[in-house]
């Protein structure tokens, strides 16, 4: 309800690192270098169970996309879902700050990570989401 600056922020997902230069962080298998954005019990590739955090490049290339115009109730449409190749790591995210039309979004398009507010909760904590915007 307040319009003052929020006291604190939380990322939408644990793998979004906020700060001066927001970026994504993956769990990388120390053995085979496979990367995961979610918590894993072991590595799906080599079965190892040691992981380290690695930063993911914030720029990438759109490898696939769709413009969703019909979604489950409560999900605003249209939006552009996409798979972005960030220096060899595949990342899932929406294309934002861009008109959601096949004329404006295209395969091979260069994009960079961008964040946006998802609003504040009752404690005034603001959630920050991410997407990719055209370079």
């Amino acid at each position: 309800m307040s319009t003052e600056t929020t006291l604190s922020q939380v990322p939408h997902v644990g793998y979004l690192q906020l700060g001066v230069r927001p970026h994504l962080v993956a769990n990388e298998c120390t053995q085979c270098k496979a990367r995961y954005f979610d918590r894993r019990n072991a590595c799906a590739s080599c079965f190892g169970s040691d992981f380290v955090k690695v930063d993911i490049p914030t720029e990438g290339v759109v490898r696939s996309f769709t413009i969703v115009t019909f979604a489950s109730p409560g999900i605003p449409v249209p939006f552009v879902a996409s798979i972005v190749d960030c220096g060899g790591t595949s990342v899932r995210g929406n294309i934002i700050n861009c008109e959601p039309t096949p004329e404006k979004v295209h395969l091979g398009m260069k994009v960079r990570l961008a964040t946006f507010t998802m609003g504040a909760d009752d404690n005034g904590v603001e959630a920050i989401g991410f997407g990719f915007e055209p370079l």
């Binding site: 939380v10 990322p11 939408h12 997902v13 644990g14 793998y15 496979a34 990367r35 995961y36 954005f37 979610d38 918590r39 894993r40 799906a44 590739s45 759109v62 490898r63 696939s64 996309f65 769709t66 413009i67 969703v68 115009t69 019909f70 979604a71 489950s72 109730p73 409560g74 999900i75 605003p76 449409v77 939006f79 879902a81 996409s82 798979i83 060899g88 790591t89 595949s90 990342v91 899932r92 995210g93 929406n94 096949p102 395969l107 091979g108 998802m118 909760d121 009752d122 404690n123 904590v125 959630a127 989401g129 991410f130 997407g131």
Partner: protein
């Protein structure tokens, strides 16, 4: 027929579409009794029952028994998303191969008419951002970080192929749907049998670009069932049964091997390619030998990539392959002459047996108006996220 070969002795599918007066078990019973009748055997001959119903409560097999015969045989209720029916068949085949019985029944059924888009549940409103789950998410991710819904997921699968090899335009995908809708006009059991023009398809309601409504599989009700038998047992049956039996030359189920990108977009390619390779090897058949193929066109965008995954065309050549007309019913490799999931319909757990029924129908020369003349070998493919792939290769009886 070799003693350790496996055959489909009887198979059936119900009319796909809306069945408001029938419950799930009615449809399953209709399919199962139909398959038994087609096989000219009874429930008393069955040594195993494997069954699936994705929207059910996990005991569809026992529910079916109560309607068609309780004989005490082992029941396996199985589930593998859209590959559930194929998994049921795979299980019955495995039981025979293991020497546990010489005949088995596989059933898949679903009631989906009126169900909306399948996908994730809507995000909940929150009073306090609290990280939860394996992504530590404070709110739902569907719609905010990509899409969880099926039309969007498979749209990306097709677009990814386009990015890699080029040529995969909106119009191209729409023309795949045009083919399948055209094919469906010859299938009396299809949920929709209306020919649609390319313009109608492209101007239909957009669901997830480039998939319009008529490029999406149709939710509907339906059941399908098959009776499988060992070669040794088949030898003891009538000539008529032997003549109509269809050889299961390959029965393969795979899951996702690890691939880098499969963590963010389901990889429907690698496991399909693996299943196809193994199936061709098992059957001693090559893609050129196939007289028809039923593949999992849950969306028009999916059909394109599976031309490539099933090796019906050279790697990267799916667009050219389709453009050559190869996959129309008068082409060199007819694909989805049933109308495919886009028009025949997609009652999830029934699909993996219904596609085999279509192939058997042609191999037996019983497909009527839509018969592919002289069909001797066919392939049925199905995939369920995330992920299971079933591939069966079927051959006409040698008799």
């Amino acid at each position: 027929m070799a003693a350790d070969d496996i055959y489909i002795l009887g198979i059936t599918m119900t009319k796909f579409g809306k069945h408001p007066d029938k419950d799930t078990v009615d449809l399953a019973a209709e399919a199962a009794m139909g398959a038994l009748k087609d096989a000219q055997v009874s429930m008393g001959d069955m040594g195993i029952l494997a069954a699936g119903c994705l929207m059910g409560q996990g005991s569809i097999g026992q529910q079916i028994q109560k309607q068609i015969g309780q004989t005490g045989i082992p029941v396996f209720n199985v589930s593998n998303a859209c590959a559930t029916g194929a998994t049921a068949l795979r299980t019955a085949v495995m039981a025979i191969k293991a020497g546990e019985c010489d005949m088995g029944l596989a059933v898949g059924v679903e009631k989906l008419a009126g169900v909306g888009l399948l996908g994730a549940r809507p995000a909940q409103a929150t009073k306090e951002w609290t990280p939860s789950g394996r992504f530590g998410a404070v709110a739902g991710t569907d719609g905010r970080i990509g899409t969880d819904n099926m039309p969007g997921t498979f749209a990306q699968v097709g677009m990814e192929y386009g990015h890699k090899y080029g040529g995969a335009t909106f119009e191209l995908f729409a023309r795949i749907a045009e083919k399948n809708h055209a094919h469906s006009t010859l299938n009396p059991l299809a949920a929709y049998t209306k020919r649609m023009t390319l313009e109608e398809i492209m101007n239909d309601v957009m669901i997830a670009y480039p998939n319009t409504r008529s490029m999406c599989s149709a939710n509907c009700d339906g059941g399908a069932a098959a009776v499988v038998v060992s070669g040794a047992k088949l030898r003891t049956l009538s000539k008529e049964q032997q003549r109509r039996a269809v050889k299961v030359s390959a029965s393969v189920l795979t899951s996702d091997p690890y691939q880098e990108a499969c963590q963010v977009l389901p990889d429907v390619n690698t496991l399909t390619r693996n299943a196809a390779k193994k199936a061709y090897e098992q059957a001693g058949v090559s893609p050129e030998d196939l007289d028809l193929v039923e593949l999992h066109d849950c969306f028009a965008t999916a059909e394109l990539v599976h031309y490539d995954n099933l090796m019906l065309c050279p790697e990267g050549g799916a667009v050219d392959f389709f453009n050559s007309g190869a996959t129309w019913r008068d082409g060199s490799t007819p694909v989805n002459v049933s109308g495919g999931l886009e028009s025949k319909g997609h009652p999830i757990a029934a699909t993996g047996i219904a596609n085999i029924w279509e192939i058997c129908h042609h191999l037996r020369g019983e497909a009527g108006d839509r018969q592919i003349e002289g069909a001797k070998v066919g392939l049925a493919h199905v995939i369920g996220l995330a992920s299971a792939c079933g591939v069966h290769i079927l051959e006409k009886s040698a008799l």
